[in-house]
Symmetry: C2
Subunit: 364 residues, 2 copies
């Protein structure tokens, strides 16, 4: 492949530092090894099969996906695919059942309706689909809030032809705070999870798999009693939210958006050609939508669709029109979802190009 020089790549463009990526993969792999956790990274973050393949090589047991398209794309490299979302509706179910037979597919759900649809689809296609019963752990988004509800759904799954009840899943997305402050919230998750596990065991439905965790809580996953699998998505790349929570250091952030300064006409700021259609609008308690990788005192103060406003109030740096910068966005997953491609870089050298194949909704 004929690779362009970094200078010639049109902005905005997404860059991935391959050395940092590799270190991040190894660090996550070592953590799960040390703590005896199963690792099924969420590939919604990168949406690139080649990166999922690297995670599998590094020790991942399978991959997690968010959509039928991601399941299709990742099936090219993974034998074990977890759709961590209720597949509701004929089209989604049909696409899942049409995945290659070598793929062990499992699905998370929290309703008898979703279970009935999946059972019907599995039966019709003659394939066996794993089921994880989703539990509510404090985020109040999806998941069954009561042990009784979880037992009833687990029983329904375990008695369903074509379905394989494998265990439970949860996502503690409400724990979005600095790593050091998470102790009480994690203890509460352990306590709450315990009541579910107890009820399931008492009903003869002890879950083999207890899949949980998040990127914010990544390095404290071992504190959640009973959890034996984690599904972090952001770890290969990290982002400004991870930085803010202390999940990574500045030298570990592998993802950035290369942008060009296009206007300095209004004093006190510089405007770049990366806006909400490249960085994505995602709020953080610290304010702003991103930060320059090599100038952390310069924040992206505001975003419109094609413009990012760099706040120059805390720097003496005055960029000229045409100068390029690398921006670390608040939330990498939604920024990647706006890219056609990711450029693998080592310093100023372009090492490769990955198409964001899992982006979009249609069949591959």
């Amino acid at each position: 492949m004929n690779l362009p020089s970094l200078d010639s790549i049109e902005t905005p463009a997404a860059l991935v530092d391959v050395d940092r990526l590799e270190l991040n993969l190894q660090k996550a792999a070592a953590y799960v090894r040390d703590h005896g956790l199963r690792w099924r990274p969420h590939t919604k973050t990168h949406k690139v099969p080649a990166l999922a393949a690297r995670q599998l090589e590094a020790g991942a047991a399978g991959v997690t996906v968010a959509t039928p398209r991601e399941a299709e794309v990742m099936s090219a490299v993974a034998e074990d695919v977890l759709l961590a979302y209720s597949p509701v509706g004929a089209s989604k179910l049909a696409r899942l059942m049409a995945l290659p037979r070598r793929v062990r597919l499992s699905v998370a759900l929290d309703s008898h309706e979703a279970l009935a649809g999946l059972r019907e689809a599995a039966r019709a296609s003659g394939r066996t689909v794993g089921v994880l019963v989703e539990l509510e752990m404090g985020m109040r988004r999806v998941g069954l809030p009561s042990p009784e509800g979880a037992v009833a759904l687990a029983r329904d799954a375990s008695e369903s032809e074509g379905l394989d009840y494998q265990g439970v899943m949860f996502y503690p997305g409400h724990i979005r705070m600095p790593l050091k402050e998470q102790g009480p919230a994690l203890a509460e998750v352990s306590r709450r999870l315990g009541t579910f596990l107890e009820a399931l065991e008492a009903a003869g439905l002890k879950p083999g798999l207890v899949s949980g965790g998040s990127t914010p809580t990544l390095w404290r996953s071992h504190e959640v009693v009973g959890m034996n699998e984690i599904r972090p998505g952001i770890t290969p790349f990290f982002d400004r939210a991870s930085l803010w929570m202390g999940v990574c250091g500045a030298e570990e952030v592998a993802y950035s958006v290369l942008a060009t300064v296009v206007s300095t006409a209004v004093s006190g700021q510089a405007v770049i050609d990366a806006g909400s259609k490249a960085l994505a609008k995602e709020e953080l308690p610290v304010g702003g939508y991103g930060v320059l990788g090599d100038r952390p005192e310069v924040e992206v103060r505001a975003l419109s669709e094609e413009h990012g406003m760099l706040d120059l109030s805390r720097t003496t740096w005055r960029p000229r029109v045409g100068e390029r910068v690398r921006v670390v966005p608040n939330h990498v997953c939604v920024s990647v979802n706006l890219q056609d491609e990711l450029w693998a870089v080592r310093g100023e050298q372009v090492m490769g190009r990955w198409e964001v194949m899992g982006r979009g909704r249609g069949p591959v």
Copy 2:
């Protein structure tokens, strides 16, 4: 083309009501006709050449675009293309110069650096490019804040071989308030614009084109003294922000995202399969990220990537898992940018499918 039934379309999916679309086009066309305004609609909203063609048929003089890709895509149907953003960098300039020769290309910019790059590219390619000098009108994003600066750049443009100084452009994006409250802000824009126009005229650089306006101020565009062109983007579709500002009524919103209820496990809410990767996160002073088209009392209270949380606190409606809803997002442009395609519908009937061709960054 073999069109699917609406029921069989996988969610989330973007729908466009073709009857409302047509009425919206006619209403905008009648307004600009009545007020003698040139109309160059911003196609970043829909990114679909067939829709730009409809706008041109309805009376648009040309189209506005945000990126080289949009310029390429829209060149298939438009003879007059305005890139309303400074093109900085060799790649963008090369793509613009490679547009079909029949296209009259113009560009907005606010710096001598951007002008120099454009002049060089125009000279090298042997094409003439129109230039609009961008003015700052209170939004403090881009644009020259002083009449002296505008005169200097207009002079530079008018004396540049290969460039055709055509006038000035501005975007009063700071006027985001209900239509009825905009009077004082519009008067201030008129006053400020007057000082620029006076200075340019005094310097012998009277602008032929004074291009301004926005969707929030759309129906009051004629109050801006001296403005002779508008470039609204959102008018064919409208959105929740337009509703909130009174720019349109509920029966005029043509765009919605079809979504499926996937979880009702947590009380007080229903979770749909349209999250920030389908609706986009964009805040409004009224809170929430969207509203159901036919149940305005039901708001999308929160978004995660693949989930939208419908707030059921102000309704007795209790949807079941599998039920479908149509969501009007806060900001249609960023939602369209997340779609592969738009489905044209009339009631429950699918009338057509438009690929969102202008999405992404790469060459067509």
